[in-house]
Protein backbone atom coordinates (compact mmCIF):
# COMPACT_ATOMS: atom_id res chain seq x y z
CA UNK A 1 0.00 0.00 0.00
CA UNK A 2 2.69 2.50 1.02
CA UNK A 3 4.68 1.60 -2.05
CA UNK A 4 1.77 2.68 -4.24
CA UNK A 5 1.62 5.93 -2.31
CA UNK A 6 5.32 6.40 -2.96
CA UNK A 7 4.74 5.81 -6.66
CA UNK A 8 2.18 8.60 -6.75
CA UNK A 9 4.09 11.01 -4.49
CA UNK A 10 7.29 10.31 -6.33
CA UNK A 11 5.62 11.03 -9.64
CA UNK A 12 3.91 14.18 -8.41
CA UNK A 13 6.75 15.82 -6.48
CA UNK A 14 10.13 14.16 -6.47
CA UNK A 15 10.26 13.21 -10.12
CA UNK A 16 7.83 15.78 -11.35
CA UNK A 17 7.33 15.16 -15.01
CA UNK A 18 7.80 18.79 -16.00
CA UNK A 19 10.18 20.25 -13.47
CA UNK A 20 12.45 17.30 -12.86
CA UNK A 21 12.12 15.08 -15.90
CA UNK A 22 11.66 18.17 -18.11
CA UNK A 23 9.00 16.54 -20.24
CA UNK A 24 5.96 18.26 -21.71
CA UNK A 25 7.42 21.75 -21.82
CA UNK A 26 5.43 22.70 -24.90
CA UNK A 27 2.02 22.86 -23.22
CA UNK A 28 3.70 23.98 -20.01
CA UNK A 29 4.83 27.14 -21.77
CA UNK A 30 1.93 27.42 -24.16
CA UNK A 31 -1.15 26.97 -22.02
CA UNK A 32 -0.04 28.61 -18.80
CA UNK A 33 -1.00 32.18 -19.56
CA UNK A 34 -4.28 31.93 -17.71
CA UNK A 35 -5.20 29.86 -14.71
CA UNK A 36 -8.52 28.83 -16.21
CA UNK A 37 -7.03 27.31 -19.34
CA UNK A 38 -4.27 25.70 -17.31
CA UNK A 39 -6.90 23.88 -15.28
CA UNK A 40 -8.58 22.71 -18.48
CA UNK A 41 -5.35 21.57 -20.03
CA UNK A 42 -4.37 19.82 -16.83
CA UNK A 43 -7.65 17.95 -16.73
CA UNK A 44 -7.42 16.94 -20.38
CA UNK A 45 -3.83 15.76 -19.98
CA UNK A 46 -4.66 13.85 -16.82
CA UNK A 47 -7.40 12.03 -18.67
CA UNK A 48 -5.27 11.24 -21.71
CA UNK A 49 -2.17 10.29 -19.76
CA UNK A 50 -3.87 7.99 -17.29
CA UNK A 51 -5.87 6.32 -20.00
CA UNK A 52 -2.81 6.16 -22.23
CA UNK A 53 -0.73 4.49 -19.53
CA UNK A 54 -3.34 1.84 -18.93
CA UNK A 55 -4.00 1.18 -22.58
CA UNK A 56 -0.36 1.09 -23.54
CA UNK A 57 0.35 -1.35 -20.72
CA UNK A 58 -2.36 -3.64 -21.98
CA UNK A 59 -1.25 -3.39 -25.57
CA UNK A 60 2.35 -3.88 -24.54
CA UNK A 61 1.64 -6.94 -22.45
CA UNK A 62 -1.09 -8.63 -24.39
CA UNK A 63 -0.32 -7.70 -27.97
CA UNK A 64 3.26 -6.65 -28.46
CA UNK A 65 5.01 -8.98 -26.04
CA UNK A 66 3.16 -12.18 -27.01
CA UNK A 67 3.77 -11.32 -30.65
CA UNK A 68 7.42 -10.63 -29.89
CA UNK A 69 7.35 -7.23 -31.48
CA UNK A 70 8.41 -5.08 -28.52
CA UNK A 71 10.43 -2.97 -30.90
CA UNK A 72 7.15 -1.54 -32.17
CA UNK A 73 6.46 -0.11 -28.76
CA UNK A 74 7.08 3.57 -29.56
CA UNK A 75 5.09 3.34 -32.75
CA UNK A 76 2.18 1.55 -31.18
CA UNK A 77 2.08 3.85 -28.16
CA UNK A 78 2.02 6.93 -30.40
CA UNK A 79 -0.89 5.57 -32.37
CA UNK A 80 -2.83 4.72 -29.24
CA UNK A 81 -2.20 8.09 -27.67
CA UNK A 82 -3.15 9.89 -30.87
CA UNK A 83 -6.45 8.06 -30.92
CA UNK A 84 -7.18 8.85 -27.27
CA UNK A 85 -6.37 12.49 -27.90
CA UNK A 86 -8.70 12.58 -30.86
CA UNK A 87 -11.53 11.19 -28.79
CA UNK A 88 -10.78 13.64 -26.00
CA UNK A 89 -10.84 16.48 -28.45
CA UNK A 90 -14.20 15.43 -29.82
CA UNK A 91 -15.61 15.13 -26.33
CA UNK A 92 -14.31 18.54 -25.25
CA UNK A 93 -15.54 20.17 -28.42
CA UNK A 94 -18.95 18.82 -27.69
CA UNK A 95 -19.07 19.58 -23.99
CA UNK A 96 -17.04 22.77 -23.66
CA UNK A 97 -16.53 24.63 -26.95
CA UNK A 98 -14.88 27.58 -25.27
CA UNK A 99 -12.33 25.39 -23.56
CA UNK A 100 -11.83 23.73 -26.90
CA UNK A 101 -11.15 27.03 -28.57
CA UNK A 102 -8.93 28.20 -25.74
CA UNK A 103 -6.86 25.05 -25.69
CA UNK A 104 -6.71 25.50 -29.43
CA UNK A 105 -3.70 23.95 -31.03
CA UNK A 106 -2.53 22.53 -27.71
CA UNK A 107 -5.32 20.02 -27.53
CA UNK A 108 -4.27 18.00 -30.56
CA UNK A 109 -0.75 18.73 -29.46
CA UNK A 110 -1.30 16.57 -26.38
CA UNK A 111 -0.42 13.89 -28.91
CA UNK A 112 3.01 15.33 -29.31
CA UNK A 113 3.30 16.18 -25.61
CA UNK A 114 6.40 14.17 -24.94
CA UNK A 115 5.20 13.55 -21.41
CA UNK A 116 2.30 11.56 -22.74
CA UNK A 117 4.59 9.26 -24.65
CA UNK A 118 7.40 9.47 -22.13
CA UNK A 119 5.45 8.34 -19.11
CA UNK A 120 4.23 5.04 -20.64
CA UNK A 121 7.78 4.37 -21.83
CA UNK A 122 9.13 5.10 -18.35
CA UNK A 123 6.49 2.71 -17.05
CA UNK A 124 7.92 0.00 -19.27
CA UNK A 125 11.46 0.83 -18.24
CA UNK A 126 10.57 0.68 -14.55
CA UNK A 127 8.71 -2.62 -15.02
CA UNK A 128 5.54 -1.28 -13.45
CA UNK A 129 2.57 -3.61 -13.28
CA UNK A 130 -0.84 -2.47 -14.49
CA UNK A 131 -1.88 -0.75 -11.25
CA UNK A 132 1.52 0.86 -10.85
CA UNK A 133 1.40 2.00 -14.46
CA UNK A 134 -1.98 3.60 -13.94
CA UNK A 135 -0.90 5.21 -10.67
CA UNK A 136 2.34 6.41 -12.15
CA UNK A 137 0.49 7.84 -15.13
CA UNK A 138 -2.04 9.49 -12.88
CA UNK A 139 0.62 10.80 -10.52
CA UNK A 140 2.66 12.18 -13.38
CA UNK A 141 -0.30 13.94 -14.90
CA UNK A 142 -1.36 15.32 -11.52
CA UNK A 143 2.17 16.58 -11.13
CA UNK A 144 1.93 18.09 -14.58
CA UNK A 145 -1.42 19.73 -13.84
CA UNK A 146 -0.22 20.96 -10.47
CA UNK A 147 2.85 22.75 -11.73
CA UNK A 148 0.92 23.99 -14.76
CA UNK A 149 -1.63 25.62 -12.49
CA UNK A 150 0.98 27.04 -10.12
CA UNK A 151 2.92 28.32 -13.08
CA UNK A 152 -0.21 29.91 -14.52
CA UNK A 153 -0.83 31.56 -11.16
CA UNK A 154 2.62 33.09 -11.20
CA UNK A 155 2.32 34.14 -14.83
CA UNK A 156 -0.99 35.82 -14.19
CA UNK A 157 0.71 37.84 -11.51
CA UNK A 158 3.69 38.55 -13.73
CA UNK A 159 1.29 40.16 -16.21
CA UNK A 160 1.33 43.22 -14.01
CA UNK A 161 5.06 43.27 -13.35
CA UNK A 162 7.41 45.77 -14.88
CA UNK A 163 9.53 43.17 -16.61
CA UNK A 164 12.34 44.41 -18.86
CA UNK A 165 11.11 44.40 -22.44
CA UNK A 166 13.49 41.75 -23.82
CA UNK A 167 12.34 39.38 -21.10
CA UNK A 168 8.60 39.91 -21.44
CA UNK A 169 6.53 36.85 -22.25
CA UNK A 170 8.19 33.52 -22.86
CA UNK A 171 11.66 34.60 -21.75
CA UNK A 172 10.68 35.39 -18.20
CA UNK A 173 8.42 32.33 -18.20
CA UNK A 174 11.50 30.23 -18.95
CA UNK A 175 13.39 31.88 -16.10
CA UNK A 176 10.43 31.23 -13.82
CA UNK A 177 10.21 27.61 -14.90
CA UNK A 178 13.91 27.28 -14.15
CA UNK A 179 13.47 28.66 -10.66
CA UNK A 180 10.49 26.39 -10.06
CA UNK A 181 12.59 23.47 -11.19
CA UNK A 182 15.26 24.60 -8.75
CA UNK A 183 12.71 24.66 -5.97
CA UNK A 184 11.57 21.15 -6.83
CA UNK A 185 15.13 19.95 -6.47
CA UNK A 186 14.50 20.39 -2.77
CA UNK A 187 12.46 17.18 -2.93
CA UNK A 188 15.48 15.27 -4.12
CA UNK A 189 16.26 12.25 -2.06
CA UNK A 190 12.83 12.07 -0.44
CA UNK A 191 11.88 8.94 -2.37
CA UNK A 192 15.14 7.27 -1.32
CA UNK A 193 14.40 7.55 2.40
CA UNK A 194 13.17 4.49 4.15
Amino acid sequence: MTSYLFVILGAVLVNNVVLVRILGLCPFMGVSRKLETAVGMGAATTFVLTLGCGTSYLVDHYVLMPAGVEYLRTLAFIVIIAAIVQVTELVIQKTSPVLHQVLGIYLPLITTNCAVLGVPLINVALHHDLLESLLFGFGSSVGFSLVLMLFAGIRERLDGADIPVPFKGTAIAMVTAGLMSLAFMGFAGLDKYH
Binding site: F151, I154, D162, L190
Partner: protein
Protein backbone atom coordinates in the same frame (compact mmCIF):
# COMPACT_ATOMS: atom_id res chain seq x y z
CA UNK B 1 -1.60 66.59 -11.21
CA UNK B 2 -1.79 65.42 -7.66
CA UNK B 3 -5.14 64.31 -6.35
CA UNK B 4 -6.41 63.53 -2.90
CA UNK B 5 -5.29 62.53 -0.39
CA UNK B 6 -3.06 65.54 -0.07
CA UNK B 7 -1.59 64.51 3.25
CA UNK B 8 0.46 61.41 3.87
CA UNK B 9 2.06 59.60 6.70
CA UNK B 10 5.82 59.81 6.84
CA UNK B 11 6.84 56.35 5.73
CA UNK B 12 9.09 55.01 3.04
CA UNK B 13 10.39 51.76 1.65
CA UNK B 14 13.81 52.86 2.79
CA UNK B 15 12.74 53.17 6.42
CA UNK B 16 11.04 49.75 6.30
CA UNK B 17 14.18 48.14 4.92
CA UNK B 18 16.37 50.00 7.40
CA UNK B 19 14.37 48.64 10.30
CA UNK B 20 14.69 45.12 8.93
CA UNK B 21 18.46 45.59 8.79
CA UNK B 22 18.52 46.94 12.33
CA UNK B 23 16.51 43.96 13.51
CA UNK B 24 19.19 41.66 12.09
CA UNK B 25 21.89 43.28 14.23
CA UNK B 26 21.39 41.23 17.45
CA UNK B 27 21.65 38.01 15.49
CA UNK B 28 24.73 39.22 13.67
CA UNK B 29 26.29 40.28 16.96
CA UNK B 30 25.80 36.77 18.34
CA UNK B 31 27.20 35.37 15.09
CA UNK B 32 30.36 37.46 15.44
CA UNK B 33 30.68 36.52 19.12
CA UNK B 34 30.60 32.80 18.49
CA UNK B 35 31.97 32.38 15.01
CA UNK B 36 34.29 35.33 14.60
CA UNK B 37 34.28 38.45 12.49
CA UNK B 38 34.47 36.58 9.20
CA UNK B 39 30.73 36.98 8.77
CA UNK B 40 31.17 40.75 8.70
CA UNK B 41 33.50 40.32 5.74
CA UNK B 42 30.90 38.14 4.05
CA UNK B 43 28.24 40.77 4.70
CA UNK B 44 30.47 43.44 3.20
CA UNK B 45 31.22 41.32 0.13
CA UNK B 46 27.57 40.48 -0.42
CA UNK B 47 26.43 44.08 0.06
CA UNK B 48 28.98 45.38 -2.41
CA UNK B 49 28.03 42.72 -4.95
CA UNK B 50 24.33 43.42 -4.50
CA UNK B 51 24.75 47.15 -5.00
CA UNK B 52 26.97 46.61 -8.01
CA UNK B 53 24.54 44.17 -9.60
CA UNK B 54 21.58 46.41 -8.89
CA UNK B 55 23.36 49.48 -10.25
CA UNK B 56 24.36 47.69 -13.42
CA UNK B 57 20.83 46.39 -14.03
CA UNK B 58 19.25 49.76 -13.30
CA UNK B 59 21.65 51.38 -15.74
CA UNK B 60 20.83 48.83 -18.45
CA UNK B 61 17.11 49.17 -17.84
CA UNK B 62 17.25 52.96 -17.81
CA UNK B 63 15.76 53.25 -14.34
CA UNK B 64 16.70 55.94 -11.85
CA UNK B 65 19.64 54.72 -9.83
CA UNK B 66 19.73 57.04 -6.86
CA UNK B 67 16.28 56.17 -5.63
CA UNK B 68 16.48 52.42 -6.08
CA UNK B 69 20.01 51.98 -4.77
CA UNK B 70 19.13 53.79 -1.57
CA UNK B 71 15.93 51.86 -0.93
CA UNK B 72 18.14 49.30 0.90
CA UNK B 73 16.20 46.32 -0.48
CA UNK B 74 19.32 44.99 -2.20
CA UNK B 75 21.21 45.29 1.08
CA UNK B 76 18.59 43.24 2.88
CA UNK B 77 18.95 40.53 0.23
CA UNK B 78 22.73 40.70 0.56
CA UNK B 79 22.64 40.35 4.35
CA UNK B 80 20.32 37.38 4.17
CA UNK B 81 22.62 35.72 1.66
CA UNK B 82 25.64 36.34 3.85
CA UNK B 83 23.82 35.01 6.90
CA UNK B 84 22.62 31.83 5.22
CA UNK B 85 25.82 30.99 3.35
CA UNK B 86 28.62 29.33 5.30
CA UNK B 87 30.77 32.03 6.94
CA UNK B 88 33.88 30.63 5.30
CA UNK B 89 32.43 30.39 1.81
CA UNK B 90 34.96 31.65 -0.73
CA UNK B 91 34.31 35.24 -1.80
CA UNK B 92 33.38 34.30 -5.35
CA UNK B 93 30.65 32.00 -4.10
CA UNK B 94 29.04 34.83 -2.16
CA UNK B 95 29.48 37.23 -5.07
CA UNK B 96 28.04 34.83 -7.62
CA UNK B 97 25.11 34.00 -5.39
CA UNK B 98 24.36 37.64 -4.67
CA UNK B 99 24.61 38.66 -8.31
CA UNK B 100 22.28 35.85 -9.34
CA UNK B 101 19.84 36.91 -6.66
CA UNK B 102 19.83 40.56 -7.60
CA UNK B 103 20.18 40.31 -11.36
CA UNK B 104 18.18 37.23 -12.26
CA UNK B 105 15.74 36.66 -9.45
CA UNK B 106 14.98 40.32 -8.74
CA UNK B 107 15.80 42.65 -11.61
CA UNK B 108 14.72 40.42 -14.48
CA UNK B 109 11.27 40.39 -12.94
CA UNK B 110 11.20 44.17 -12.84
CA UNK B 111 13.10 44.89 -9.66
CA UNK B 112 11.77 45.96 -6.30
CA UNK B 113 8.37 44.57 -5.47
CA UNK B 114 7.88 42.39 -8.52
CA UNK B 115 9.91 39.23 -7.93
CA UNK B 116 7.80 36.13 -7.23
CA UNK B 117 10.72 34.31 -5.61
CA UNK B 118 12.77 35.27 -2.60
CA UNK B 119 16.08 36.35 -4.15
CA UNK B 120 18.26 35.34 -1.22
CA UNK B 121 16.75 31.88 -0.97
CA UNK B 122 16.90 31.33 -4.70
CA UNK B 123 20.59 32.21 -4.54
CA UNK B 124 21.10 29.75 -1.70
CA UNK B 125 19.37 26.95 -3.63
CA UNK B 126 21.28 27.68 -6.81
CA UNK B 127 24.57 27.63 -4.99
CA UNK B 128 23.90 24.54 -2.94
CA UNK B 129 22.87 22.68 -6.06
CA UNK B 130 25.91 23.90 -7.96
CA UNK B 131 28.49 23.71 -5.14
CA UNK B 132 27.12 21.26 -2.59
CA UNK B 133 30.48 20.72 -0.92
CA UNK B 134 31.40 24.36 -0.47
CA UNK B 135 27.92 25.18 0.75
CA UNK B 136 28.03 22.51 3.43
CA UNK B 137 31.23 23.38 5.24
CA UNK B 138 30.57 25.02 8.54
CA UNK B 139 33.12 25.71 11.21
CA UNK B 140 32.25 24.97 14.79
CA UNK B 141 31.86 27.87 17.16
CA UNK B 142 35.16 29.48 18.11
CA UNK B 143 37.06 27.05 15.95
CA UNK B 144 38.60 29.44 13.46
CA UNK B 145 40.34 32.70 14.18
CA UNK B 146 39.76 35.74 12.00
CA UNK B 147 42.92 35.28 9.98
CA UNK B 148 42.08 31.70 9.06
CA UNK B 149 38.63 32.83 8.09
CA UNK B 150 40.05 35.53 5.84
CA UNK B 151 42.38 32.99 4.28
CA UNK B 152 39.50 30.70 3.62
CA UNK B 153 37.36 33.44 2.14
CA UNK B 154 40.04 34.96 -0.05
CA UNK B 155 42.51 32.08 -0.21
CA UNK B 156 43.15 29.82 -3.12
CA UNK B 157 43.01 26.10 -2.59
CA UNK B 158 40.97 24.94 0.32
CA UNK B 159 41.66 22.05 2.52
CA UNK B 160 38.99 22.68 4.96
CA UNK B 161 37.46 19.29 5.32
CA UNK B 162 39.84 18.66 8.16
CA UNK B 163 38.81 21.67 10.12
CA UNK B 164 35.15 22.08 9.33
CA UNK B 165 32.23 19.83 9.51
CA UNK B 166 28.61 19.83 8.60
CA UNK B 167 26.03 21.94 10.34
CA UNK B 168 24.60 20.58 13.57
CA UNK B 169 21.42 19.77 11.65
CA UNK B 170 23.29 17.79 9.08
CA UNK B 171 25.50 16.16 11.65
CA UNK B 172 22.58 15.03 13.73
CA UNK B 173 20.75 13.67 10.73
CA UNK B 174 23.81 11.70 9.65
CA UNK B 175 24.27 10.44 13.16
CA UNK B 176 20.63 9.45 13.47
CA UNK B 177 20.74 7.63 10.19
CA UNK B 178 23.86 5.89 11.33
CA UNK B 179 22.24 5.05 14.64
CA UNK B 180 19.43 3.38 12.74
CA UNK B 181 21.96 1.08 11.11
CA UNK B 182 22.54 -2.04 13.21
CA UNK B 183 26.15 -2.30 12.00
CA UNK B 184 27.06 1.17 13.17
CA UNK B 185 29.06 1.94 16.29
CA UNK B 186 26.51 4.43 17.45
CA UNK B 187 23.60 2.07 16.93
CA UNK B 188 20.96 2.44 19.55
CA UNK B 189 22.02 5.84 20.74
CA UNK B 190 19.26 8.39 21.10
CA UNK B 191 19.20 11.88 19.67
CA UNK B 192 19.86 13.40 23.07
CA UNK B 193 22.99 11.30 23.46
CA UNK B 194 24.15 12.00 19.93
CA UNK B 195 23.92 15.68 20.71
CA UNK B 196 26.53 15.37 23.37
CA UNK B 197 29.38 16.28 21.01
CA UNK B 198 31.30 19.55 20.92
CA UNK B 199 29.28 20.86 17.98
CA UNK B 200 26.09 20.95 20.01
CA UNK B 201 24.92 23.40 22.61
CA UNK B 202 21.96 23.39 24.97
CA UNK B 203 19.24 23.42 22.38
CA UNK B 204 20.74 23.25 18.94
CA UNK B 205 24.16 23.78 17.52
CA UNK B 206 26.63 25.38 19.86
CA UNK B 207 26.48 29.11 19.37
CA UNK B 208 23.84 28.93 16.70
CA UNK B 209 21.16 28.72 19.37
CA UNK B 210 22.28 32.14 20.58
CA UNK B 211 22.22 33.49 17.07
CA UNK B 212 18.69 32.15 16.76
CA UNK B 213 17.85 33.98 19.96
CA UNK B 214 19.29 37.15 18.44
CA UNK B 215 17.04 36.75 15.41
CA UNK B 216 14.09 36.12 17.69
CA UNK B 217 14.73 39.35 19.57
CA UNK B 218 15.09 41.30 16.32
CA UNK B 219 12.01 39.67 14.88
CA UNK B 220 9.90 40.48 17.91
CA UNK B 221 11.04 44.07 17.62
CA UNK B 222 9.88 44.08 13.98
CA UNK B 223 6.47 42.86 15.07
CA UNK B 224 6.35 45.56 17.72
CA UNK B 225 7.29 48.14 15.08
CA UNK B 226 4.48 46.78 12.89
CA UNK B 227 6.89 46.08 10.04
CA UNK B 228 5.81 42.45 10.01
CA UNK B 229 2.74 40.80 11.45
CA UNK B 230 2.71 37.92 13.89
CA UNK B 231 1.12 35.48 11.44
CA UNK B 232 4.14 34.12 9.62
CA UNK B 233 6.54 33.65 12.57
CA UNK B 234 3.77 32.20 14.67
CA UNK B 235 2.54 29.77 12.04
CA UNK B 236 6.05 28.76 11.07
CA UNK B 237 7.25 28.07 14.60
CA UNK B 238 3.96 26.45 15.52
CA UNK B 239 3.87 24.14 12.53
CA UNK B 240 7.53 23.24 12.92
CA UNK B 241 7.01 22.42 16.59
CA UNK B 242 3.94 20.35 15.85
CA UNK B 243 5.45 18.42 12.94
CA UNK B 244 8.71 17.78 14.74
CA UNK B 245 6.85 17.03 17.96
CA UNK B 246 4.65 14.41 16.31
CA UNK B 247 7.52 12.41 14.90
CA UNK B 248 9.66 12.94 17.97
CA UNK B 249 6.79 11.85 20.15
CA UNK B 250 6.44 8.61 18.21
CA UNK B 251 10.14 7.83 17.84
CA UNK B 252 12.26 9.98 20.17
CA UNK B 253 15.25 7.83 19.33
CA UNK B 254 15.05 8.43 15.60
CA UNK B 255 14.12 12.07 15.36
CA UNK B 256 15.46 15.29 16.78
CA UNK B 257 13.41 17.22 19.30
CA UNK B 258 11.14 20.06 18.17
CA UNK B 259 13.15 22.57 20.17
CA UNK B 260 16.30 21.46 18.41
CA UNK B 261 14.60 22.08 15.08
CA UNK B 262 13.48 25.50 16.14
CA UNK B 263 16.88 26.54 17.43
CA UNK B 264 18.92 25.13 14.56
CA UNK B 265 19.76 26.15 11.07
CA UNK B 266 17.81 28.96 9.51
CA UNK B 267 14.55 28.39 11.39
CA UNK B 268 14.47 31.68 13.27
CA UNK B 269 15.96 33.67 10.42
CA UNK B 270 13.37 32.09 8.17
CA UNK B 271 10.47 32.69 10.49
CA UNK B 272 11.14 36.37 11.06
CA UNK B 273 13.19 37.59 8.12
CA UNK B 274 12.97 35.32 5.10
CA UNK B 275 9.39 34.15 4.92
CA UNK B 276 8.18 37.56 6.02
CA UNK B 277 9.48 39.13 2.81
CA UNK B 278 6.20 40.67 1.69
CA UNK B 279 7.06 40.74 -2.00
CA UNK B 280 7.41 37.01 -2.51
CA UNK B 281 5.32 35.87 0.45
CA UNK B 282 1.62 35.53 0.98
CA UNK B 283 -0.19 38.72 1.95
CA UNK B 284 -3.60 37.85 3.34
CA UNK B 285 -3.76 36.95 7.04
CA UNK B 286 -5.07 33.46 6.37
CA UNK B 287 -2.69 33.09 3.45
CA UNK B 288 0.25 34.01 5.66
CA UNK B 289 -0.67 31.29 8.15
CA UNK B 290 -0.99 28.74 5.38
CA UNK B 291 2.16 29.89 3.66
CA UNK B 292 4.29 29.75 6.80
CA UNK B 293 2.85 26.48 8.04
CA UNK B 294 3.49 24.91 4.64
CA UNK B 295 7.02 26.21 4.68
CA UNK B 296 7.57 24.76 8.16
CA UNK B 297 6.37 21.31 7.15
CA UNK B 298 8.46 21.34 3.98
CA UNK B 299 11.47 22.57 5.93
CA UNK B 300 11.10 19.72 8.35
CA UNK B 301 10.60 17.13 5.62
CA UNK B 302 13.60 18.29 3.60
CA UNK B 303 15.77 18.57 6.71
CA UNK B 304 14.84 15.16 7.96
CA UNK B 305 14.28 13.06 4.87
CA UNK B 306 15.81 15.03 2.04
CA UNK B 307 19.25 15.41 0.58
CA UNK B 308 20.13 18.92 1.71
CA UNK B 309 21.42 20.09 5.09
CA UNK B 310 18.72 22.68 5.69
CA UNK B 311 15.28 22.90 4.18
CA UNK B 312 14.36 26.48 4.77
CA UNK B 313 15.58 27.77 1.40
CA UNK B 314 13.87 25.13 -0.68
CA UNK B 315 10.76 25.33 1.45
CA UNK B 316 10.64 29.08 0.91
CA UNK B 317 10.96 28.74 -2.86
CA UNK B 318 8.38 25.97 -2.99
CA UNK B 319 5.93 28.05 -1.01
CA UNK B 320 6.73 31.08 -3.17
CA UNK B 321 5.43 29.07 -6.11
CA UNK B 322 2.17 28.58 -4.26
CA UNK B 323 1.77 32.21 -3.23
CA UNK B 324 -0.33 33.50 -6.15
CA UNK B 325 -2.85 30.72 -5.65
CA UNK B 326 -2.82 31.05 -1.85
CA UNK B 327 -3.39 34.78 -2.09
CA UNK B 328 -6.15 34.30 -4.62
CA UNK B 329 -7.98 31.73 -2.55
CA UNK B 330 -7.61 33.33 0.87
CA UNK B 331 -8.92 36.80 0.16
CA UNK B 332 -10.72 37.95 3.25
CA UNK B 333 -14.37 38.89 2.80
CA UNK B 334 -14.74 42.59 2.24
CA UNK B 335 -16.94 45.09 4.03
CA UNK B 336 -20.58 44.16 3.73
CA UNK B 337 -19.86 40.77 2.18
CA UNK B 338 -19.02 38.95 5.39
CA UNK B 339 -21.06 36.07 6.56
CA UNK B 340 -22.22 36.62 10.08
Amino acid sequence: MINSPFVRKAASVQSVMLQVLLALVPGIAAYVWFFGAGILVQIAIASAAALAGEAAMLAIRGKPKAIFLTDLSAIVTAWLIALTFPPIAPWWLTVTGTLLAVVVVKQLYGGLGQNPFNPAMAAFCLMIVAYPALMSQWPAAGQLDFKTQLDLIFGGLRQVDAITGATPLDALRTALRAAANPDSQVHGLRAAQLMDGPAFGFLGGKGSEWIALGYLVGGLWLIQRRIITWHIPFAFCGALLVTAGLLWGVRPDAFASPVFHLASGGAMLGAFFILTDPVSGATTPRGKLLFAAGAAVLTYVIRTFGAYPDGIAFATLLMNILVPIIDMKTQAPVFGHKKD
